[in-house]
Amino acid sequence: MTQIRLTTPLSDEDVEKLRIGQRVSLNGTIYTGRDAAHKRLVELIQQGKELPFNPDGQVIYYVGPSPAKPGAVIGSAGPTTSYRMDSYAPELYKLGLKASIGKGRRSEGVINALKQNKGVYFAAVGGAAALISRSIKSCKVIAYPDLGAEAIHELVVEDFPVIVVNDTLGGDLYDEGIKIYAAK
């Protein structure tokens, strides 16, 4: 299947042309964040304070990697389930976040935020964590080291494989998949 190659930061035009089911190969810098980091980010937004990174044009990967073995860039690093970030994600899309990467369904609130702010949601293959790590070329903690695996890491990725699950038009690949493959 053909792949669309994208390099971060992403523009509105980059994401507007994406449609559910398309394979995307991501390149450049992305940021990690899961439950605890999102809670802190949204608290900062509510207090009108500066975030550890500017989300405008950026991509957040919902992951808590396992520790790197000596000599390795990162441990295993597959996606975590995204719905736990649903209450926080719209705030970040409002600030210009262009994409999040995770696994599993998003809420209506997130799907609307994608439409309103020109954003997308990508899935990576959950549990293919050792394989996915091969596309991560560098990793450093930029905020909240006290959170351990949940700290915000800045990753540089090359040909990081994702699939478009929710696009800027409100499409949902999970719904489409079931429509095609459910047996009567």
């Binding site: 299947m1 605890a36 992951v63 808590g64 990697p65 396992s66 520790p67 790197a68 073995k69 390795a72 441990g75 295993s76 690093a77 597959g78 975590t80 389930t81 719905y83 696994k103 599993g104 369904r105 899935a123 293959v125 959950g126 549990g127 293919a128 964590a129 050792a130 394989l131 790590s133 091969r134 959170l147 351990g148 695996a149 949940e150 699939i163 690949l173 999970y174 489409e176 998949g177 079931i178 429509k179 095609i180 493959y181 459910a182 047996a183 009567k184």
Partner: protein, 292 residues
């Protein structure tokens, strides 16, 4: 570390030192996360042959490749190296010496997760949520059995699939159809979230907590081994077929491989109750066992 002595009365008592327990748990914590069971790998292969979705096939291939990388490089197959759930079958003729039995298990988890570069995923207080830093404590289930062996099984359990599990106290009048509907609905609601293809562990009967525990024990069963009760074995087959018709597929992106196996454990129930628990496991169906 393990010795057998004959007592005056003729009963053989085996002595197991806690050091041996700690070492076994530390080793198994790592092995369970690095080596996916042969039965699961064969399950992937079988699913790959039968899957009709191209994306589904690609995902199954990636999971096989991923298991190979984990095995060869001794890295965890999934970054979520789980809550360390430990099942102990303690022979009644075994004597533990050398310290606190449960602490020996926690120490094994602490050591295994640290030395194996496994993720520390446990917070000490569910509301304060501060990470314990060493993946302890473990959740330990102990059963006393006849004999002189100590069997320890570790089943690291990922949070994503655990979160999609459910329990319901049905009415006896709901019967097998009520049970079937609750199981299928739970899988349907979980959809793509628990990393399908999943393993569905089911408990039917017992009390509220017994039922939940049965559903977890069901996940330890090797693929291909059916319930010893013919009606339940038949229900397992029917449910697997029904679940795989849902169309959820690998990673929920559509396909015919939603579950690799359905395992059901049952227990006697109260005249008023029909409890059903569904414990969902992701495709990383990890467990390791040692007999001391």
């Amino acid at each position: 570390m393990v010795a057998t002595i004959q007592q005056g009365g003729g009963t053989k008592i085996k002595t197991v030192n806690t050091t041996a327990i700690t070492e076994a748990v530390a080793r198994m914590s790592q092995e369970a996360n690095f080596y996916l069971g042969q039965d699961v790998l064969e399950g992937f292969q079988k699913a790959l042959d039968q899957e009709i979705s191209i994306t589904g096939k690609e995902i199954l291939q990636q999971l096989i490749e991923n298991a190979g990388i984990a095995r060869d490089e001794l890295v965890p197959m999934c970054q979520d190296t789980g809550y360390a759930v430990i099942f102990v079958e303690l022979g009644q003729d075994v004597r533990i010496e050398g310290g606190d039995f449960y602490e020996a298990i926690h120490e094994g988890v602490r050591r295994g997760y640290t030395e194996g570069y496994l993720r520390k995923s446990i917070v000490s207080h569910p509301l304060e949520r501060k990470n314990t830093g060493d993946n302890t404590p473990a959740v330990i289930h102990t059963k006393i059995v006849p004999g002189e062996t100590l069997r320890i099984t570790i089943a690291p359990k990922g949070g994503g699939a655990e979160n999609m599990s459910a329990i319901k106290m049905l009415k006896p009048a709901d019967g097998v159809e009520g049970v079937r509907k609750f199981i299928v609905d739970t899988v349907k609601t979980a959809g793509p979230n628990p990393c399908p293809p999943i393993v569905v562990g089911v408990g039917i009967g017992g009390t509220f907590e017994k039922c939940a525990q049965l559903s977890k024990e069901a996940l330890l069963r090797e693929f291909g081994v059916k319930s010893k009760y013919p009606d339940i074995a038949k229900l397992e087959d029917e449910l697997l077929e029904e679940i795989n018709k849902l169309g959820i597929g690998p990673q929920g992106l559509g396909g015919r491989t939603t579950a690799l196996a359905v395992h059901i454990e049952i227990y006697a129930a109260h005249i008023a109750s029909l409890p059903v628990a569904v414990n969902i496991n992701c495709h990383a169906a990890r467990h390791k066992e040692t007999v001391l």
